[in-house]
């Protein structure tokens, strides 16, 4: 097994995951505007910020974290946190799509979900190639989120103020995570490069 070959493929894998988060971040900005307009004022007003609700989707660790904690995260923990966050957020956005009555917006949200799903797959593949197990998939399954497919036969839940506030926060949390993940993958790239240099010294 050629260590430099592995390293190169790992690096390109991290790079493409990084690119994907930047792309999704960009896509999300557009969808968020449309979605908030759909919710109606004051949700689409500048500086609007309702209290964060206490729902299942939002009990996940927030993207916001103290700098020294973030800095010192081990590679596996860093990736696992990302994986858990996106598992939960993907299910939450699917629910958002289901409760959206506007067909074009529903389609855009579902399309965005495919992107999120791709990101999850990318992260899992990265964890496998680095030899880390993926417990987060099982953890996400514990939550009672309907994760089966996108075309649900159940009637769409009635939109309520609390659902609107939750939708607002899910998109905000997603935005924070995508912004943070880009930095996570950059950090991961640097750490792997540093550790490979150390490895090389002993060969």
């Amino acid at each position: 097994m050629d260590p430099s070959h592995n390293l190169a493929s790992e690096r390109s894998s991290i790079e493409s995951t990084y690119e994907l988060t930047k792309y999704l971040e960009y896509q999300l900005k557009e969808i968020k505007d449309v979605y908030l307009t759909y919710l109606g004022p004051p949700f689409n007003e500048k500086d609007f910020s309702p209290p964060r609700p206490n729902s299942t989707a939002l009990t996940l660790p927030s993207a916001a974290t103290r700098l020294e904690l973030w800095h010192g995260l081990e590679n596996q923990a860093r990736l696992a946190q990302n994986q858990r966050a996106y598992s939960i957020l993907l299910a939450a956005v699917r629910e958002l799509a289901r409760s959206t009555l506007c067909p074009s917006l529903k389609t855009s949200l579902l399309h965005f979900c495919t992107g999120l799903d791709g990101l999850l797959g990318s992260i899992s593949a990265l964890m496998n190639s680095l030899g880390y197990s993926s417990p987060a998939q099982a953890a996400a399954g514990e939550l009672q989120f309907p994760q089966r497919g996108t075309g649900s036969n159940r009637p769409a839940p009635l939109m309520s103020q609390s659902l609107k506030v939750e939708g607002f926060w899910i998109l905000r949390e997603l935005q924070s995570w995508l912004w943070r993940s880009a930095k996570d993958f950059n950090r991961l790239k640097k750490r792997l490069r540093a550790s490979s240099l150390t490895r090389h010294r002993y060969y």
């Binding site: 759909y38 009555l101 506007c102 309520s160 103020q161």
Partner: protein
Amino acid sequence: MKAALGFCLIFLTLHSPGVLSLSTHVAIVYPQDPVLRMGSNLTASCWVHPELGVHANSLFWTLNGHQLPSSLYRVLSPTNLSVTLAGLNASRQTSGDNLVCHNHKGHILAGSCLYVGMPPEKPVNLTCWSRNTKDLTCSWAPGGKGETNISTLYKLKYKLRWYGTEKECEDYSHTQPYSCSITQDLHLFTPYEIWVEASNRLGRATSDVIILDILDVVTTDPPSGVTVSRLGQLEDQLSVRWEAPPALKDFLFKAKYQIRYRLEESQDWKVMNDVGNQTSCRLAGLRPGTVYFVQVRCNPVGIYGSRKAGIWSEWSHPTAASTPHSERLMSCDSKSSGDSNSTLRRELKQFLGWVKKHAYGCSSMSMKLYDQWRVDMQKSPKTRNQVGSPRG
């Protein structure tokens, strides 16, 4: 102590996201997510938890981000403030209007989605057609002024007239609203009853029932392979040929066709109606040296012995061709030397002149036509000018 606890509750809710887990609501608006008719009145109330330490008269309401005047408020109790809205307008968005209760600092305490609209009106203009008897597609339009922002569900229903249970169409078009296709279990030779049911949270309405036999509303694909070409040097005619739509092969019905043509720079189409069953036709009386656009369409007639016509297909893609330039140069001398060539030529000229007059339309050029001319030439002038076009 109460005030301190109240302050803590507000602080924890508003400044430490995701940490606090309240077992009771901080505040709540009644009614939650009501559905109302346009023009009706609503009195909503905002109840705040006593431990919040907030008095009802310090609260205010907004509707879709706009603050509501305090003249509409009433303090029902120290923890309960109501607002009365009269003559509600239709909801601004399908997700419902946002009626929100705020504390004096503007922080959101609770809210409710108002759905204001009208019950649906009877759907209208229900029409159905079948493509090659393989499916039945129907379309309709919402009645009256159309839908308000209360989401309205439409169901296309059908049943066999003299027996059979009511069924619902499942394949609603995503590209065209108010349209659905029935693709399975279609029965021929028996009438269907078809109607549309509209419903929303304020009521329902049903369209008139239409009764039809699938074989009476059949349409097909436009003819394929449409070609337009010149007829030798004939400067005022063009020949149009096409192929019957492939689907017709399956059926025991004839087709009838219609041709339309126009000048390149004009928008006025000229339609030729009596094209019949053939797959070719001649256009006459055209302008020399001009480009024409031609289209053909097809109507499946007499399906399985029915006497009714079907529904016209779409027009084929336009095909273009140009008539030859008229060559009014030195005329081919009729006064040239009388050799056998010029006799033949003269005869041909006469024949062609006769053809122009008597045989325009969709009969094809053939020896039969020539023979018919010969016969006609034998007749006395009186009888010659009788009767219509020969059969091709």
